[in-house]
């Protein structure tokens, strides 16, 4: 019995060693995961924990955008639509119908996928930049709609949620936030793995073929519309998850945030920053963007405390600063930071293998 367990453990370890430890980019991803896993153990400041948690939520959102844009080539600048619908629907169902979250969140995700398919039928008649412009309009229209319908949608603040409708309705503040953090990290991990698997499956290959040349795809006998709708639905499904988590985490659904232009643009910045079409790129991008945003805020308000002119306007000024830094990043690494790192690591391993061969 003990022998069997030992053999099993040895087997797990050897597969872990060959599949993860020996592949530098995977090792890096594994280390990042370890850091994220042990972050709350260090009894972080609640504020920082909140920032990291929201970065995790946006990482899900950006990864879902990457499947749609980096793989299928359907450039959407209105992805906040699904984020917003997910947030509102889940908040509405739990607040006014008293449904538990384990029911409202999956329901909202499915509803987002449904909306994507229904909107896809008329919208996919337009292509390229026209499609992009059409997608941009939807969340803005919906935001105005929610604004106008104060009861039940709560106007400017959106639907206010109580502590009972958080992901973990515990009494103690810190353990609650830590539990939420772990749940969201787990969901990010699961969604990222699913999205990555889809992106690198045969379906993913067909999606890239549509991105590269739609008419050639048709000439291969591929029902392009069906695959596009599938990409929209999967992407909306996970964007909806991000929206639900966000609503229950901040206990509100302010329409200008969850359906705002900024929310539509975050995944674009994160994906291009991290590396488009990779799925892991946007996740890295989300952490970089969020840390940059917080870092610039800290520098401007705390470091420049002695210059009130800067410190008071820190919240607005930081946008200029971090966008400037991002532009430099994108010019320096146009393929994205994660792709750059992966390529560099591959080069290094190749070099090392060559050196070893020379020694022999």
């Amino acid at each position: 019995m003990i022998k069997m367990v030992g053999a099993l453990l040895r087997r797990i370890y050897s597969s872990f060693a060959t599949n993860i430890l020996d592949v530098p980019p995977r090792l890096l991803a594994f280390l990042l995961l370890m850091v994220l896993l042990f972050l709350p153990v260090a009894r972080l400041d609640l504020y920082i924990l909140r920032i990291v948690t929201i970065a995790l939520i946006f990482a899900i959102f950006a990864a879902s955008w990457d499947l749609l844009v980096g793989r299928a080539g359907q450039v959407s600048l209105g992805h906040a639509l699904f984020f917003g619908i997910g947030a509102y629907l889940s908040a509405y169902l739990s607040r006014f119908h008293g449904l538990p979250l384990w029911a409202t969140i999956p329901l909202s995700m499915l509803f987002c996928a449904l909306v994507a398919v229904l909107l896809g039928f008329p919208c996919l008649r337009v292509k390229g930049p026209y499609l992009t412009l059409v997608t941009m309009a939807f969340p803005l229209i919906l935001a105005v709609g929610f604004f106008a319908l104060d009861p039940p949608f709560g106007g400017e603040g959106g639907i206010a949620l109580t502590r009972a409708q958080r992901l973990f309705p515990m009494e103690a503040l810190y353990p609650q936030r830590v539990a939420e953090y772990y749940l969201i990290l787990f969901l990010l991990l699961v969604s990222a793995i699913i999205l990555y698997k889809i992106a690198n499956s045969k379906t993913g290959i067909v999606l890239v073929s549509i991105l590269d040349d739609e008419s050639a795809s048709k000439a291969c006998g591929i029902n392009v519309t069906k695959y596009k709708l599938l990409a929209w639905a999967i992407s909306a499904f996970f964007a909806g998850l991000a929206g639900c988590l966000y609503a229950h985490y901040i206990q509100a659904t302010p329409p200008t945030t969850v359906l705002g232009l900024t929310t539509s643009f975050y995944p674009v910045i994160m994906t291009i920053l991290g590396g488009i079409g990779t799925i892991y790129g946007p996740i890295v991008g989300a952490f970089i963007l969020w840390s940059l945003m917080e870092f610039t805020l800290w520098v401007l308000t705390d470091f420049f405390q002695f210059i009130p002119f800067i410190a008071n306007a820190g919240d607005e000024l930081r946008i200029i600063v971090y966008i400037g830094i991002i532009i430099v990043f994108i010019i320096k690494w146009p393929k994205g930071i994660s792709k750059f790192v992966v390529e560099k690591l591959d080069e290094l391993t190749e070099k090392r293998e060559l050196d070893e061969r020379k020694k022999k």
């Binding site: 045969k202 890239v208 050639a216």
Partner: protein, 243 residues
């Protein structure tokens, strides 16, 4: 009943009649050439047949079935595949994945032999056109001649009963032309029915049994290569009128 039939097909672009009342038919096992000077409407005719353009009038029949206004992918899944004059590779995908896409079409997956994966079949197709050494090379790194062959492999992977080749020889050097001629002959022996649009008459005339000549969207001649090359109208179109 012929395998494939085009009847009175007409397409206008504004005031220009690109294809005017063209009819022809293809029997099983045939290999037919479609020639004509630039702008004669050869590619437009292909686009009408394969559903990329909708005709103004006329019908296209394939295996006795009217396929005139079907969507391109449905036509491909009925067994009518095409290649493009300007190569359309999936740039980001390696050569083998380019072919796998075609192997994933409903028709190809239904016809997949028992215990054979789409990947395996894609590799077979690459071997058929002589590209298997490049299987992992991204399509954007391939040379023009290789892309032409990739285009062929992709069309063959959809298991066509009729193959439409749009200028397969354009941009190929003599060696590549020779290789392609041999591959097409081999496909013909394997029983493939083909219609080939071509500018390079020299390469084409060796291959085909029947030639159709288009000029300003109209069919002006049809017959064996010998008949056609002695046809007065055809000589006029290609050489200009004798003063």
């Amino acid at each position: 009943m012929p395998l494939f039939e085009v009847e009175n097909l007409t397409k206008r672009f504004g005031g220009l009649t690109a294809v005017n009342n063209v009819s022809f038919h293809v029997d099983e096992g045939d290999i037919i050439g479609l020639i004509g000077p630039n702008g004669a409407g050869k590619t437009t005719l292909f686009n009408l047949i394969t559903g990329f353009l909708k005709p103004d009038s006329g019908t296209v029949r394939f295996k006795g079935e009217d396929i005139t206004r079907l969507e391109p992918h449905k036509i491909v899944n009925k067994g009518l595949a095409r290649t493009f004059q300007v190569v359309k590779p999936f740039r980001h995908l390696p050569a083998i994945a380019n072919v796998i896409v075609a192997c994933l079409s409903p028709r190809a997956s239904k016809k997949l032999e028992w215990l054979k994966s789409p990947e395996r079949k894609a590799l077979d197709m690459l071997e058929l056109v002589g590209l298997s050494e490049m299987m992992f090379e991204p399509a954007e790194n391939l040379a023009h001649g290789d892309l032409k062959r990739l285009e062929m492999a992709r069309a063959l992977a959809t298991e066509p009963d009729l193959l439409l080749l749009d200028e397969p020889f354009s941009g190929l050097n003599p060696i590549e032309t020779d290789f392609l001629t041999k591959s097409i002959q081999r496909l013909h022996l394997d029983g493939y029915t083909m219609v080939i649009v071509e500018h390079k008459l020299h390469a084409l005339m060796k291959l085909v049994k029947k030639v159709i000549v288009l000029h300003y969207g109209e069919k002006i001649a049809e017959g064996s290569p010998k008949e056609v090359s002695h046809n007065k109208k055809v000589i006029e179109v290609y050489m200009g009128r004798v003063a």
